[in-house]
C-alpha cells in the first residue's frame, strides 16, 4: 500500500511522535535543544526542585547572547544582574555536562546563528529553544520553534514536548526578485499581507522559485521572522543549496554517514499532490524594498510608498491601531517614508547578522561616510562571522565609514545588554521587532534590510537603497 502524499511538516512530525494517547496532546521528541541565559535559569531551578537531571545533555547546547555586552571584552560589563544570569548558566551547564559556548569560546554567538554554522541544525530534526526566533532553523527543513521556560524544563527532563499538531500554510513566492530586493523585504512583505497574527496555529512552508533561488542565509532571514506572522515555525525544503552549505560543518555527519544523511534529507521535501491547509502566493517581481512604519512587524510598506492613514481602512480596531502606532512613531499619515530623519542604524540580530548581511551593508558603506549625527552599529552574529568578516576586510569598511564594529550578541535587538536607543530616537534596524520600546524605552524602530539600513546610515534619512547601489 502506498502512503498518501505528505508535506515536509507532516514527515518530520510523524517521525518524532513518541506517544499519542487519547485525550492527551501528542508527545514529540526533540532532537536538538538550544539553551541561553535568559530563559533557562528558572527551568534548571525547577529540575533541581524536583530532583531531576538533564536526560540528554548530548542533545543540548548552550550559548550566551541576550544579556551579553558587545563591547571589547576589557570594557565589557552590562550590570550585576546580567552577570549573575551568565554565571548561573555556567553553573547549570557544568552541573549537567551541557556544552556551553561562552563569551570566549570559538563557537560563541547568537543562538540562531551558531546552530546552523556549527552544523547542529540539520534537515528533518526537531529543534527547540526558549526563544521565539528558533523558527530560523526551519531554513534547513528542520521543524524548529520557540518554547517557554516551563517547556525548557520539560525538554531538559524528558527530551520531549507536549504538542498539538499545527495546521500548514504554504507561502509561495514565484519569480525573480528585483535589484536591491532581499530576503528581508520578502518576509516583511509576507507579514504585511497576512498580518502579525495571520500565521497563528500554523507552520509555514515557503515554496516557489524565488525561495528556491535564495541562499541559506537568506532562507534563514525568511524563516526567522515566521513568528512575526504568528506562525509556530517556518520551513524550506532542503535541497542541494542546503547540503552544500552544511557539508564540512563541525557537527555535520561525515563520510558514509554524510551520504546516508543526504539521501534521507532528499526524501523530506513535500510530496507531489500533498496539500496545505492554506496557501498564499506572491509575485517576487512585485516586491519592493520594504520598511516598517508602525509598532509591529505587520505594519510594513514599500519604501517608495506613503505612510498609511487611519482613514484608509474600514475596521474601527484597525483604525485605532494605526492612530496609536503613528502617534508613538511620530509619523504623519500620507507622507512619504523616504526622507524621514534617522538617528541610529543597527545591522545585526538573528535575522540579519551573517556574512551575506554584512557584505550587503558594506557594499553601500564602502567609500562612503556615516552621516553626521547618526550612530551606526554593526554587530556580527557570531565569533566565526566576525573573524570571517575581518578576513575579508569588512571591519575596515565599517570603521572607515564611521560605524562601530562590535563583538557578537543580540545587542540592540533586545536592549537588555547596554546597547539601546534613546527615547524619541529613530532607528533603522535589521532586527525583527519594532514593538514599542523594543530597542530602548521610547525608541522608534523601522525594520528593514541591511541594504536599506546602510543607505539610511550614509544619508541620515530613510533612503531607497536602489538609489545607492552600484549600477
Amino acid at each position: 500500500m502506498s502512503t498518501p502524499p505528505r508535506t515536509l511538516f507532516e514527515k518530520i512530525w510523524q517521525r518524532h511522535v513518541v506517544a499519542d494517547e487519547a485525550e492527551h496532546p501528542t508527545v514529540l521528541y526533540v532532537d536538538l535543544h538550544l539553551v541561553h541565559e535568559v530563559t533557562s535559569p528558572q527551568a534548571f531551578a525547577g529540575l533541581a526542585a524536583r530532583g531531576l537531571g538533564v536526560r540528554r545533555p548530548d542533545k543540548t547546547f548552550a550559548t550566551m547572547d541576550h544579556s551579553t555586552p558587545t563591547l571589547p571584552r576589557h570594557l565589557a560589563r552590562v550590570d550585576a544582574a546580567a552577570e549573575a544570569q551568565l554565571a548561573e548558566l555556567e553553573r547549570n551547564c557544568a552541573k549537567h555536562a551541557i556544552p556551553l559556548f561562552g563569551l570566549d569560546h570559538e563557537h560563541h554567538g547568537i543562538v540562531h546563528v551558531i546552530g546552523p554554522e556549527l552544523g547542529l541544525t540539520q534537515p528533518g530534526r526537531t529543534i527547540v529553544c526558549g526563544d521565539s526566533h528558533t523558527s530560523t532553523h526551519g531554513a534547513f527543513g528542520a521543524l524548529a520553534f520557540g518554547i517557554g521556560t516551563s517547556e525548557v524544563e520539560h525538554v531538559l527532563a524528558t527530551q520531549c514536548l507536549l504538542q498539538h499538531k499545527a495546521r500548514t500554510l504554504e507561502v509561495r513566492v514565484d519569480g525573480a526578485l528585483g535589484r536591491g530586493v532581499t530576503a528581508k523585504d520578502v518576509i516583511l512583505a509576507v507579514i504585511a499581507r497576512i498580518g502579525t497574527g495571520g500565521g497563528a496555529g500554523h507552520v509555514i512552508e515557503y515554496t516557489g522559485s524565488a525561495i528556491g533561488a535564495l541562499d541559506m542565509e537568506a532562507r534563514m532571514t525568511v524563516c526567522n521572522m515566521s513568528i512575526e506572522a504568528g506562525a509556530r515555525a517556518g520551513l524550506v525544503a532542503p535541497d542541494d543549496t542546503t547540503f552544500a552549505w552544511l557539508d564540512g560543518r563541525p557537527y555535520a555527519p561525515r563520510g558514509a554517514a554524510w551520504d546516508r544523511a543526504v539521501c534521507a534529507w532528499r526524501a523530506l521535501a513535500t510530496d507531489e499532490g500533498a496539500t496545505y491547509d492554506r496557501s498564499v502566493t506572491f509575485d517576487a517581481a512585485e516586491i519592493a524594498p520594504m520598511i516598517t512604519w508602525g509598532t509591529h512587524p505587520g505594519m510594513g510598506m514599500r519604501i517608495d510608498g506613503r505612510v498609511p492613514s487611519a482613514e484608509s481602512v474600514d475596521d474601527p480596531a484597525d483604525r485605532r491601531a494605526i492612530e496609536k502606532a503613528l502617534a508613538y512613531m511620530g509619523l504623519a499619515p500620507g507622507e512619504p517614508i523616504v526622507g524621514q530623519r534617522v538617528d541610529v542604524v543597527f545591522v545585526g540580530s538573528c535575522t540579519n547578522s551573517r556574512m551575506s548581511d554584512l557584505r550587503a551593508a558594506a557594499s553601500i558603506l564602502r567609500g562612503r561616510r556615516v552621516a553626521e549625527g547618526v550612530r551606526a552599529l554593526i554587530v556580527p552574529g557570531s565569533r566565526r562571522v566576525r573573524l570571517e568578516a575581518e578576513r575579508e576586510g569588512l571591519d575596515r569598511v565599517f570603521r572607515e565609514a564611521g560605524a562601530e564594529w562590535r563583538e557578537p550578541g543580540c545587542s540592540m535587538c533586545i536592549a537588555m545588554n547596554g546597547d539601546e536607543i534613546a527615547p524619541g530616537q529613530y532607528a533603522v534596524s535589521t532586527s525583527n521587532r519594532n514593538f514599542e520600546g523594543r530597542q530602548g524605552k521610547g525608541g522608534r524602530t523601522l525594520l528593514a534590510s541591511p541594504l536599506t539600513a546602510a543607505a539610511a546610515a550614509v544619508t541620515g534619512r530613510v533612503t531607497d537603497p536602489r538609489s545607492l547601489l552600484a549600477s
Binding site: 485525550e23 535568559v38 535559569p41 528558572q42 549573575a84 517557554g148 524528558t158
Partner: protein
Amino acid sequence: MQPFTRLTSRVAVLPVDDVDTDQVIPARFLKITDKVGLGDKLFADWRRAPSGDDPGFVLDRPETRGARVLFVGRNFGCGSSREHAPWALCGWGFAAVVATSFADIFRTNALKNGLLPVALDEVAHAHLRALLDADPRAEVTVDLEACVLRMPDGREASFPIDGFARRCLLAGIDELGYLSSLDKDISRWEAEHG
C-alpha cells in the same frame, strides 16, 4: 500550582489588539534567575497614574484594584516567547485573560502557570466590552468546569480550551508529571531512532 475551578472578579479593560509580550514585561526586566517580583513591572512602559482629564492606565485606576481578570483584544501575547509575561500577569494578581485570540506561545505559557486564556467569539467579546464600559466595576465569573464565562447581565459565553490543559488546571497539577510517566515510551523511541 493552585487549582483553578471558578473565579468571580472585576475586570481590567485594555481594549488593544496585538499586545506583544515586550509590552507585558519589557526586556530590561528579564535579567533575573527566578520568577518573583515581576508583578510590579507589568506593563511598566504603559503605566500612568490618573491626572486631571487623563484617566491614566487601566491598572492605575481605582476601580480595577483587585481585578483578577484582564480584558484585551485579539492576538494577545504575540512576539517574544518570554514566560516572564505570564509570571508578571500572575504576579500582579491576574488569573484569567479574556481576548478574541491568543498568540500560540503565550497561550501555552499561560496554561503552564495557572493563568487561564479565555478566547471569546467576537460577538460575546463585544457584548462584554459594552457591559464593562457601562459599569467598570461589574464582575464576571470564569467557570473552568463548565468552560463558560458569565457576564454581568447573566449571559453566558462558552470558550474553548484543550481538555488535557483543563484537567491539569482543575487539579492544580503541572504537565511534566505526565511526560515523566512516559519514560518507557521515550526510551523506546530513542532506541529505535538512535
